[in-house]
């Protein structure tokens, strides 16, 4: 029995130390990792969407905890005012699971400013075509005060033929962003400016 006790003890202790070390490392590095992730994963998309912003939207990102979830918001601040914001939402109903959509909203006109897909697992060459920026142009200028849906669901955006499910997921992602902005616009702006100050 002695041998087994020793085995269990040694293994457990090693595991515990390993876990402690890693947990510590993770805690220490998580902020930096998140920044790196923003910079390398969302960075290019944000730069494309919010092209021409005088501030650095990545640096001015705020994390807003509302409705029980954390949402990262990237602002376009001009002359002390938040002109446009970009935020990432998961669109449900894709062929390969969620489609992650980055939606930029123009707060002055309350219309969609631009849409990009940041992550998807749609079939290459079929569903993936819906992530093409040319197709995504169709969302531009849509007002956020009404539900954004595909035409086949009684909405305003045409689905990409052959990629209906992917299109649906994107529309869902954009809609979620729009609804979120519509609901929390004031809170969001307040937080952004607080951070900026």
């Amino acid at each position: 029995m002695n041998e087994i006790t020793k085995m269990v003890l040694v293994t457990t202790v090693i595991c515990v130390f390993a876990a402690a070390l890693l947990a510590g490392l993770k805690q220490g590095l998580s902020a930096r990792i998140a920044r790196q992730e923003d910079y390398y994963v969302r960075g290019p998309v944000i730069q494309e969407l919010l092209k021409g912003s005088p501030n650095d939207p990545l640096a001015d990102k705020v994390i807003i905890e509302l409705d029980g979830e954390e949402v990262g918001v990237y602002p376009w601040i001009e002359e002390g005012k938040v002109r446009r914001i970009a935020l990432e939402r998961h669109g449900k109903g894709g062929y390969g699971g969620d489609v992650v959509v980055m939606t930029a909203v123009d707060l002055e006109t309350d219309r969609i400013y631009g849409v990009r897909v940041t992550q998807h697992k749609e079939t290459p060459g079929v569903g993936s075509r819906a992530a093409d920026p040319v197709y995504l142009k169709r969302y531009q200028k849509l007002p956020i005060n009404q539900e954004i849906r595909l035409t086949r669901d009684g909405g305003q955006v045409d689905a990409l033929s052959g990629a209906t499910r992917s299109s649906t997921a994107i529309a869902d992602g954009v809609n979620r962003a729009a609804q979120f902005v519509l609901k929390h616009e004031e809170e969001i702006v307040k937080r952004i400016l607080e951070k900026k100050m």
Binding site: C15, V16, A18, A19, L22, A23
Partner: protein
């Protein structure tokens, strides 16, 4: 953080408990050697070695199926460590040495499916040109490169040469040989192997009753590797000195060189290496299997008994020989005259057999002094009955019991019991076998003025060796063919005259035999002082007692002991027989072959309980292997050993024939066509080698 610690600690704890408990509950005992090796291996289970993980590799290394340096992950130091572990343990088991073992035939067909050619020639089709093919070797030298112990070198003819001293039996070459013709062969496996029809066998090898690997030992002699030659012979024949002198060498009859030229003097070559060993003054060590703890009794110390005892001993069994005469050797000692086989040579040879650890009881007669019940009680697992054929057949004519009438065997035997028989001036020997010739030549040496050999058929039918007949004639023995005695007349109880009748041969009967029949009225009288009757022998089976176990032994109508052809098992399962008492009188080499076959059967019987049959066991010559014509063979004179001049030899019993010299042996060995070792036309191959050798030399320099 705490959840992380808890979760990981939990997983680790559960895993360790599960493994700990499992290793207790499901404990399987492992070979300590395997564990030791596994300990030394990296344990990364990378599979780079080709085995399923380090454990499997350790098992393979321990079993000798993988070299110690097989681990690719550990690097040299792991290899060295494993080799160290193996080095300590490897001694206990019987060494298995690498050897090329191509036997052509069907196995070649399994290896190659090219152009419909189903034999060794497929290799030629594949690689083109004539190929010197030692055992089907392609000559790449892969084996030499793969050997971790440097035991393999490529010989001058680009065939691998295995050094038994260095070979550790790791099997690396076996795995790497592109033709798959190297195998690890223990000496046990070699001893237990018998020729098969499916093998590529040179005719001499098929014909030899002891199945000696003749081409290989001639090859060894050619290369001057006498030690290997002796070991090759001794895998089949423990009595090369004796056979080298007395064997009628049936092998030479079928020698392929004999088709175009005189056959190779195989027996002289054997005698040459055997004498080489004796002149070294030391018996060569032969490989022995580890002891099995089984006991076998051998009854009769003649060639069959000696051979059986020798091979059983090499297979690891304890053997005791029981012999009724004062010394071992049987017919070899008591039936063959000194001038053909000097007894000091036989003594040396027998000593070599006994020193392997065989016990001997002499002057005990089976049936009188001991019996099967005794042997059983003494704990013998099996008995080999090889009592020989010592009873002479009788003529069945008037006057056979007169003084001066000898039976041939008794006549010859007396020489070695210290009281040479006396012969008169005129001696008649009746019979045409080797015993008759031996008796005639011996009589001459005892001082007879005139020796007549009387044989009822003609010279062509004479069973004695042609060379023996010639030697006898050269010494002055008169041979009277087509004559048979009808009456022996005596005066005062001693022989005076003999009446004989001329015979003639009938026309061949349906079986092709021509029988002798007397010519009525051709009787003649002959003055004679001594008559020696040597017309054949039969086993003396007076040991059979109704009320004993021996009574259960079945006996044939020729007075031989009955046994199953395939197993040599008599009607008593633990009693085996072989040699003259089973086959009837025959030549020594036959008995030697029978001894090994009996050893094989006894080995399986006492170790495994049943004797597996040999699939397609070769008994008769393989027809396709006998040729009527051979191209490109230039006659080369055969060696003729020096013989004692006739005037010197008939006065005494000095050995008549001498051993050939090393130069002569070399030359004679070169006459061998190496059948079975070469697949293609030899001349073309040799031209090819000569062509290639200089250019190769240039490339290396």
């Amino acid at each position: 953080m705490w959840t992380a610690v808890l979760i990981m600690g939990g997983i680790g704890c559960v895993a360790a408990v599960a493994l700990g408990v499992a290793s207790r509950i499901f404990y399987v005992k492992e070979d300590p050697l395997v564990n030791q090796i596994e300990e030394a291996l990296p344990g990364a289970n990378c599979g780079g070695c080709g085995f399923a993980g380090c454990h499997a590799a350790a098992v393979a290394i321990a079993a000798g199926k993988a070299p110690p340096n097989i681990c690719v992950g550990g690097g040299p130091e792991v290899g060295a460590r494993v080799a160290g572990i193996m080095g300590m343990e490897v001694v206990a088991k019987e060494p298995e040495l690498a050897a090329t073992d191509c036997c052509g035939g069907q196995r070649a067909a399994e290896k190659f499916f090219y152009n419909g050619v189903q034999d060794c020639r497929a290799a030629q089709m594949l690689f083109g040109g004539s190929k010197l093919c030692g055992h089907g070797c392609l000559g790449f030298g892969t084996c030499a490169k793969s050997c971790p112990f440097g035991a393999i070198t490529m010989g001058p003819d680009r065939l691998p040469v295995f050094d038994p001293e260095l070979c550790r039996g790791c099997g690396s070459c076996v795995r790497n040989c592109p033709r798959g013709i190297i195998s690890l062969v223990s000496s046990t496996a070699k001893i237990l192997h018998f020729n098969r029809y499916t093998e590529c066998l040179a005719p001499c090898r098929q014909k030899c009753p002891a199945q000696i690997d003749i081409p290989t030992y001639i090859e060894h002699i050619r290369e001057g590797r006498y030690r290997e030659a002796i070991l090759t012979i001794k895998e089949r024949n423990p009595l090369p000195l004796t056979c080298g002198r007395v064997c009628p060498h049936p092998c030479e009859e079928v020698c392929r060189r004999g088709v175009e030229d005189e056959p190779v003097a195989i027996n002289h070559l054997k005698r040459f290496v055997a004498d080489w060993e004796m002149n070294q003054g030391k018996h060569l060590e032969v490989p022995m299997a580890p002891p099995t703890g089984k006991k076998v009794a051998v009854i009769g110390g003649g060639p069959a008994g000696l051979s059986c005892a020798y091979f059983l001993r090499r297979l690891g069994h304890e053997v005791t020989i029981y012999e009724q005469m004062p010394q071992l050797g049987g017919m070899l000692r008591y039936g063959i005259p000194e001038y053909r086989l000097p007894k000091r040579i036989l003594d040396w040879e027998i000593e070599g057999i006994l020193r392997l650890g065989i016990r001997v009881r002499t002057e005990v007669k089976f049936g009188d002094d001991f019996d099967l019940e005794f042997l059983r009680a003494a704990g013998f697992d099996a008995v080999f009955l090889s009592v020989g054929a010592w009873d002479s057949r009788r003529l069945g004519i008037e006057g056979e019991d007169l003084e001066g009438v000898w039976d041939g065997i008794r006549f010859l035997r007396l020489f070695h019991l210290g009281e040479p028989p006396e012969v008169g001036e005129r001696v008649v020997v009746v019979g045409g076998g080797n015993t008759a010739i031996d008796a005639a030549r011996s009589a001459l040496r005892l001082g007879a003025k005139r020796v007549v050999l009387m044989y009822r058929r003609s010279r062509d039918e004479m069973p004695a060796n042609e060379m023996e007949i010639e030697a006898a004639e050269a010494e002055g023995v008169e041979i009277l063919f087509l004559a048979a005695p009808t009456k022996i007349l005596g005066e005062g109880g001693s022989v005076r005259r003999m009446e004989f009748i001329r015979m003639r041969l009938t026309d061949p009967d349906p079986s092709g035999r021509r029988r002798p029949e007397p010519m009525e009225g051709s009787e003649k009288l002959m003055e004679v002082d001594t008559v020696i009757v040597a017309i054949g022998q039969s086993p003396g089976i007076d040991f059979v007692r109704e009320d004993k176990l021996t009574g259960q032994l079945r006996v044939t109508r020729w007075n031989t002991i009955d046994a199953q052809e395939e197993t040599l098992q008599t009607s008593l399962p633990f009693v085996f027989t072989g040699g003259d008492c089973f086959t009837g009188p025959s030549i020594a080499v036959e008995a030697i072959g029978a001894g090994r076959y009996a050893a094989r059967c006894i080995h399986y019987f006492i170790v495994e309980g049943k004797i597996p049959p040999i699939p397609s066991r070769q008994r008769t010559l393989i027809k396709d292997s006998l040729l009527e014509h051979l191209e490109g063979v230039q006659p080369v004179p055969r060696v003729h050993p020096h013989e004692l001049p006739v005037n010197r030899r008939i006065r005494n019993f000095e050995e008549v024939e001498h051993t050939i010299s090393p130069d002569e042996a070399q030359r004679e060995a070169n006459r061998c066509l190496r059948c079975g070792l070469i697949c293609y036309n030899r001349d073309v191959v040799e031209a090819l080698i000569e062509e290639q050798t200089p250019s190769e030399a240039a490339a290396v320099s």
